[in-house]
């Protein structure tokens, strides 16, 4: 038995993690200067690459009761996708099914703190909401050869019959990992770890070489 007693903290600790003032937020691919490459690099090719940077990403873990589901829906504006491997995407918010009791919520960077605060105020019961914005980044890949590029990187079946628009899978990607969501027939979203962002950017450049890579700012 430990002699240390931990006092229960009142409420939950929520911190606004957005850099403010003199501190400028930098995405994990800041050093690659994608904006210059977008301007000077090729404008035509089979694979288009865009870093959707500095988004607000929240992990919700919960085995929701009907009551909690209703509160979550009112807070997010959309219902949680309860079916495995499904997702909900609107202009303002994306929710991805990650596991039977885990969802990934993607909003604009400045909205994450607001949502966290609202969850703390309104949602009761057993759940956890963690801001993972700083640990992840989103890579959008699209284009006529995007599936060919992805086939080199992941063992998941990407045929439209097996991987329809809206499906989301967490899987191995180029010996790293990624959460892949199909946004359109030829457009995919990759949610990747911050520490692997540079490696995956190099990997995607290499895998796209034969089709031509276009970087979008």
């Amino acid at each position: 038995m430990s002699d240390v007693t931990v006092e229960a903290m009142e409420g939950k600790l929520v911190t606004d993690q957005l850099p403010t003032g003199a501190i400028v937020g930098e995405s994990p691919l800041h050093h690659s200067d994608l904006a210059s490459i977008a301007k000077k690099g090729p404008q035509q090719g089979g694979v288009h690459f865009h870093e959707r940077k500095l988004k607000g990403l929240l992990t919700l873990r919960c085995a929701p009761s009907a009551e909690q589901l209703a509160v979550i829906e009112s807070l997010l504006g959309v219902a949680l996708p309860m079916q495995p491997l499904t997702s909900v995407t609107t202009d303002a918010i994306s929710v991805r099914w990650m596991s039977p009791d885990e969802w990934l919520i993607i909003v604009a960077g400045e909205q994450a703190f607001e949502i966290e605060t609202q969850f703390q105020e309104k949602l009761t019961g057993h759940y956890a909401l963690v801001n993972i914005s700083g640990g992840t980044t989103i890579l959008d890949v699209s284009g006529s050869h995007v599936v060919d590029m992805l086939k080199k990187s992941t063992p998941v079946d990407l045929h439209a019959s097996e991987f329809p628009v809206g499906k989301v899978v967490s899987t191995v990607f180029a010996k790293s990992g990624a959460t892949i969501c199909r946004l359109a027939d030829d457009k995919f979203e990759l949610v990747v770890r911050r520490s692997f962002a540079d490696y995956l950017w190099l990997w995607i450049q290499d895998a796209s070489r034969e089709y031509g890579l276009v970087v979008k700012a």
Binding site: P84, L85, M98, S99, P155, S170
Partner: protein, 97 residues
């Protein structure tokens, strides 16, 4: 490569996404303090290594990160059944053999 059915993602995925986590259905002694060293040692360290049907714990490490059970033939590598933690296997080894 195997295709392994994940009972949580409800679809077959590549073996690369999974990790084996050893023998399943190992019951923790209800009163560890009352165990002899031999009993506790066997619970902690000794695992079955059958030839034939074996129940194993696997984790969908790169996917939903959930644990589940696989009944597998260790001789042929054939996967007989996949079932969630807490469920009972329907395929079991024939003890009489």
């Amino acid at each position: 490569m195997f295709h392994i059915y994940c009972p949580h993602c409800c679809e077959y995925r590549e073996e690369e996404e999974f990790h084996a986590a050893g023998q399943s259905h190992i019951a923790r002694p209800l009163d560890p303090d009352a165990c002899t060293d031999k009993e506790w040692g066997e619970y902690m360290y000794f695992r079955a290594n059958p030839r034939g049907i074996h129940h194993e714990l696997w984790v969908h490490a790169a996917g939903c990160r959930k644990f589940f059970n696989i009944t597998r033939n260790t001789q042929t590598y054939e996967i007989k059944e996949v079932y969630k933690v807490g469920e009972k296997p329907s395929v079991v080894a024939d003890e009489a053999k």
